[in-house]
Symmetry: C2
Subunit: 358 residues, 2 copies
Amino acid sequence: MSTHKIAVIAGDGIGNEVMPEGLRVVEAAARRFNIDLQFTTMAWANCDYYLEHGQMMPSDWFGQLKDFDAIYFGAVGWPDKVPDHISLWGSLLKFRREFDEYVNLRPVRLMPGVPCPLANKKPGDIDFYVVRENTEGEYSSVGGRMFEGTERETVLQESVFTRKGVDRILKYAFELAQSRPKKHLTSATKSNGIAISMPFWDERVEAMGPGFPDVHWDKYHIDILAARFVLSPERFDVVVASNLFGDILSDLGPACTGTIAIAPSANINPERTFPSVFEPVHGSAPDIYGQNIANPIGMIWSGAMMLDFLGNGDARYTAAHDAIVRAIEQVLEHGPRTPDMGGGASTTEVGMAVAELL
Amino acid sequence: MSTHKIAVIAGDGIGNEVMPEGLRVVEAAARRFNIDLQFTTMAWANCDYYLEHGQMMPSDWFGQLKDFDAIYFGAVGWPDKVPDHISLWGSLLKFRREFDEYVNLRPVRLMPGVPCPLANKKPGDIDFYVVRENTEGEYSSVGGRMFEGTERETVLQESVFTRKGVDRILKYAFELAQSRPKKHLTSATKSNGIAISMPFWDERVEAMGPGFPDVHWDKYHIDILAARFVLSPERFDVVVASNLFGDILSDLGPACTGTIAIAPSANINPERTFPSVFEPVHGSAPDIYGQNIANPIGMIWSGAMMLDFLGNGDARYTAAHDAIVRAIEQVLEHGPRTPDMGGGASTTEVGMAVAELL
Ligand SMILES: CC(C)[C@H](C(=O)O)[C@@H](O)C(=O)O
Ligand SMILES: CC(C)[C@H](C(=O)O)[C@@H](O)C(=O)O
């Protein structure tokens, strides 16, 4: 039995509150399914560290992390301490890019017991994946200002798309679609307004399509696609999108299923050259930090995705993943619930309840 | 009594079906409120024109249009005939930019009789404006490709933000918020991921805020903002956004109120140096064209916004606008309804029903 090395980074705010519950549940599942995990906690990649050291992480962060199998990650950001673009570009976005975690995989699923903001939907009706490109595109610090501080001030912001970057995310998404019963892929674009990069994106989709003759694919401009998430979420199966569009759709999707507090995500390096990062979709929520009321389900579910990834097809790990998801469903349906879900339970109580079911 | 000169451009697809109904209603309102309108129909700015002439509009389009007070515009685009980025950049986007229609104003309102996709909402609960920057930002044809056709292919797409462009749209939005009872402004950003342009946008909002001490403002990243449109649309009053974010939010908002088929929009040059353009939010919908089933309400409501704009504060025009909106509400509530709203009426029948109420 091999040991999986996992780096634990709680980050800021409620990242520190949900992480212990994530660990509690992952450890319980590991015990039950006889999976050997070794956790190492890193006290950096948070805004307090920045205030002390002038950077989010130690200079040798890459070397410290690169040999882990996975990074279990809470949430980073505390705008009153450090501007978001500094804290995020100094941590999470570095991992995604420098560990080449080019797939951001985000399930969107209507779970039992979660009140749906959309009328007349029941669990099972909404069940799809957003596959987001995670290393290039609109997320860029390339560009600059001219005539700063004057009336003529002009800001240029570059988006960068490469054939390699686009093709590999499309391939991942087509393969995922192929593995699912509906075999349906939707590509997000905006080639009618963004005139250079998005027509290129469309071209690459057209080029990839024929290689997957059994996958039925279509494309929508991001504006109408966002509208369709609200009006007909049932029709989606796998949605592939650029970095920015994927970011928007993977918050919007979970909102359509009730709450982003329970949504998980995986930042995957499919070649396993570097560690992948597993983190909830929600942020660090400084406004509710310190009360032990944050919902730990997103963190826990991300832990389940981590086990699945570590198993790489091994049935024991898949079983561990499935057991956690079933336990989450139980707790969502019967409680205890944190205040955001209409309950009065604490973060710890919810984490313990999920762990107990394992 | 002055005569208002209006250019009429139906465009493609259902633009041609909803335009006659828009005109029918606007003319009925003009008669009733004693407003003098003169319409001139342009047979260009559509994809068939492009197929014949190799361009969307005649070369002297600017001169032909510039002295009109307004352009009443259907919808452009027919991807099977002409790629969207060519048809749109050759028409609508030219108007917005060259006539410096820097405000795209889009009301989001839950209307009576429209089934709301969100649970437990009633008319009045959702009532806000999206104020979208309409001339710069992410909509850009600046950029290019290197290593085309090879594995190294790299595409650069520039977004361009100017202090002038950002400040004037923020000013319009702050003033609009100031004129409303709630006096609340929300700015859409993504400064945690898009590292050059969006921090600049945030800076300009911070700089503008103190000039409007009675306006309460906040900001959200676009991902979570999209989620909040679904989870708590009641809280919004005026939402200001860049070109792309405004595009997404102004489709998503109407979707949250039931359908984008009835959503109107105004592309405004506030200084009235050039004509403003009034158009429904929906597109040309080639798939349903030719059946006379398109919903004309978005076109009609846009006509009401046009009258309001032409009046520039004159009570007669405001009354004409309000009368059209009331007639729309009546028809939405009691029918007739087009198939998209669950009815069996034609485009023409709905248009006639609204006109009759005037
Ligand atoms: C057709 C398209 C270019 C246009 C836009 O993106 O601006 C449309 O979606 C709109 O919102 O008016
Ligand atoms: C915090 C932020 C930079 C991040 C992103 O935009 O990618 C977050 O919203 C996410 O979706 O993981």
